[in-house]
């Protein structure tokens, strides 16, 4: 009899060890590529191109981070990305919160088709509008400007924003709004003074997701810009060139990759719960 519990304890212990080893393996798998980018960005050119590869730089060299701004127009690319993603987010939130209020709170004929229509747009493959969008952007004189990107990014940020915000609006208790109506406020005043403050968490979530989406976008940025006047970071990183066509400046590419990723990781650290809530509201509730 005394043997039983002991054996049980041992197998339980082994199970625990296996569990933590598995967790460790998953963790390593998830973060290793980023770790490798950081290590590579701190190496000298020589150290980068030597075998066997070293898993830690001999000495931390920050030169690559300086070179990115001196030898590449990366500062300008960062500015472009920040402005484009910032304006896209503001526009999507400003326009989207009105729509979300209407869809989340009002009953009216035609609501269902509108809702489905917006949902359908969010599933549009960007490539399916590329030709028409190109011609439109040329005609509006927006080609190779920030506005070309802010404008075209509405196709994926606006539907998603409306969607996330609508699910937040629905959860706000109706009594507050009714109180405002009794006090004689119109729909616009109710939205601005009663609902909008309560929607703040939703605005943060939707805004973060819109910002990340715009910051990371590649296809439109690649197609609607030609030079560094409006070229954003993803396109710049895809096109980094070295002294010759065959010699890619890997250390600089890695440094630039780390620079654009760090703010995103910080956002994720601070707003983890909100991001997950927004993603699951978007995907699971549908």
């Amino acid at each position: 009899m005394p043997k039983g519990p002991k054996k049980f304890r041992l197998s339980r212990f082994l199970g625990q060890v296996a569990f933590y080893l598995l967790l460790l393996a998953v963790f390593a798998y998830l973060v290793f590529p980023f770790y490798w980018a950081v290590v590579s960005s701190l190496k000298s050119q020589q150290e980068l191109f030597q075998t066997p590869v070293s898993y830690w730089p001999e000495k931390l060299r920050w030169q690559n981070y300086r070179d990115v701004f001196i030898m590449q127009p990366f500062g300008r690319n960062l500015l472009n990305s920040a402005v484009v993603a910032g304006l896209t987010t503001l526009l999507a939130l400003a326009v989207g919160s009105f729509a979300a209020y209407a869809l989340g709170r009002f009953r009216f004929a035609g609501k269902r088709p509108i809702y489905y229509g917006i949902l359908a747009v969010s599933m549009f493959p960007q490539i399916s509008v590329l030709g028409g969008m190109y011609v439109l952007i040329k005609a509006l004189g927006l080609y190779n400007t920030w506005w070309a990107l802010v404008f075209s990014y509405m196709i994926f940020t606006l539907p998603f924003t409306i969607w996330v915000l609508t699910s937040f609006v629905r959860e706000i208790p109706a009594e507050l709004e009714e109180a405002a109506y009794v006090d004689g406020a119109g729909p616009l005043q109710t939205l601005l003074w009663v609902l909008l403050p309560l929607m703040a968490p939703g605005l943060v979530t939707a805004g973060l997701l819109a910002f990340i989406g715009a910051w990371n976008e590649f296809l439109f940025a690649l197609t609607f810009t030609v030079d560094d006047k409006a070229r954003t970071v993803p396109v710049a990183i895809a096109f980094f060139s070295g002294a010759s066509q065959f010699e890619l400046p890997w250390a600089q590419i890695m440094a630039a990759s780390v620079i654009v990723t760090v703010p995103l990781i910080l956002l994720v650290l601070f707003f983890q719960q909100r991001i997950i809530a927004g993603l699951t509201a978007g995907a699971v509730k549908g």
């Binding site: 269902r112 949902l119 030709g131 404008f151 990371n216």
Partner: protein
């Protein structure tokens, strides 16, 4: 009577609130989509401004039907989609079950899971391209040290390996996202069910098979369809890792190459329209199967 007029007023307000969004979406989505479809019936060069379109009716589509490169890109996309979505689902489910358990530093793990998702696709593609480097890449180094390969492999040059290498990057980037969606689904399963199963003497596998899986099905289905739609339009990772190389190019990569690089606005638009219909069919299936509810 009063109630009715109030309702009418509210309906009017709702439409006013919707107006800016509807105008904007018409401008950035409906109009460019219809314009692309219209352009697919013409022959035009993207370099001409103003455009000088020549009506060719369905000639672009007739060409598309027998365009070997188009079908090659369709094949690549289908392989990419099936391989990446199934791997992501299986791995994602595994990670979700793992992380659903209680353990210290669980918050850290969740953050780690969001990192691949937050990194721009272009950046993750470049990171992996460097890791895949045949001479100085870390992947070859690790595999050599482990004795899994005898000599360095040219992951991105070997025709039989490129697509698989690209799938591996997509799996790394998207599996954690899948896992997070599934984790949300797992956490909505009542604990009592597991306790009941435990009392009835169900093994962990039986619990997974008869409690977890059936209750997770809705979340699983949504995640699966989302990922499929996403994978079918893949562009960034393929373009950055192997450009317009025919052995890996996806439908989107090929359409953009025709449209922009070759300037074939008409034929490129026909390709875009083809992709639109392929994905639209999937979307309609999605909306009907999952019956998205408004209220």
């Amino acid at each position: 009577m009063l109630k009715r007029s109030l309702q009418a007023r509210r309906a009017r307000a709702a439409w006013l609130f919707l107006l800016p969004s509807l105008v904007l979406l018409t401008l950035v989505a409906a109009y460019p989509l219809l314009r692309t479809m219209q352009l697919s019936l013409y022959q035009a060069s993207i370099l001409d401004y103003p455009l000088r379109p020549v009506w060719v009716a369905l000639a672009n589509y007739a060409f598309l039907i027998q365009d070997a490169y188009w079908w090659l890109s369709v094949k690549n996309t289908v392989i990419f989609t099936v391989a990446s979505v199934s791997l992501e689902t299986l791995l994602g489910l595994g990670i979700a079950v793992l992380v659903n358990a209680r353990f210290p530093l669980r918050g850290l793990m969740r953050t780690a899971m969001l990192i691949p998702w937050a990194i721009p696709t272009v950046v993750s593609a470049q990171m992996w391209r460097w890791m895949y480097n045949d001479v100085y890449g870390v992947i070859n180094d690790i595999l050599l040290r482990l004795g899994l390969i005898a000599k360095p492999v040219a992951w991105l040059a070997e025709p039989s390996l490129v697509l698989a290498s690209i799938v591996a990057v997509d799996v790394w980037k998207t599996t954690p996202f899948m896992a997070l969606l599934l984790l949300a689904g797992l956490q909505s399963i009542p604990k009592e069910l597991y306790e009941a199963a435990h009392v009835d003497g169900a093994t962990p596998w039986q619990q997974f098979r008869y409690v977890t899986l059936p209750l997770l099905k809705p979340a699983l289905l949504v995640a699966l369809v989302f990922r499929t739609l996403d994978a079918l339009r893949v562009f960034d990772v393929v373009y950055v890792m192997s450009g317009t190389n025919p052995s890996t190019m996806s439908m989107s990569v090929y359409a953009r190459q025709q449209l922009v690089d070759f300037g074939a606005l008409g034929y490129g638009s026909a390709l875009s329209t083809g992709i639109f219909f392929i994905i639209a069919i999937f979307t309609v299936i999605y909306l009907t199967v999952l019956r998205v509810e408004v209220d």
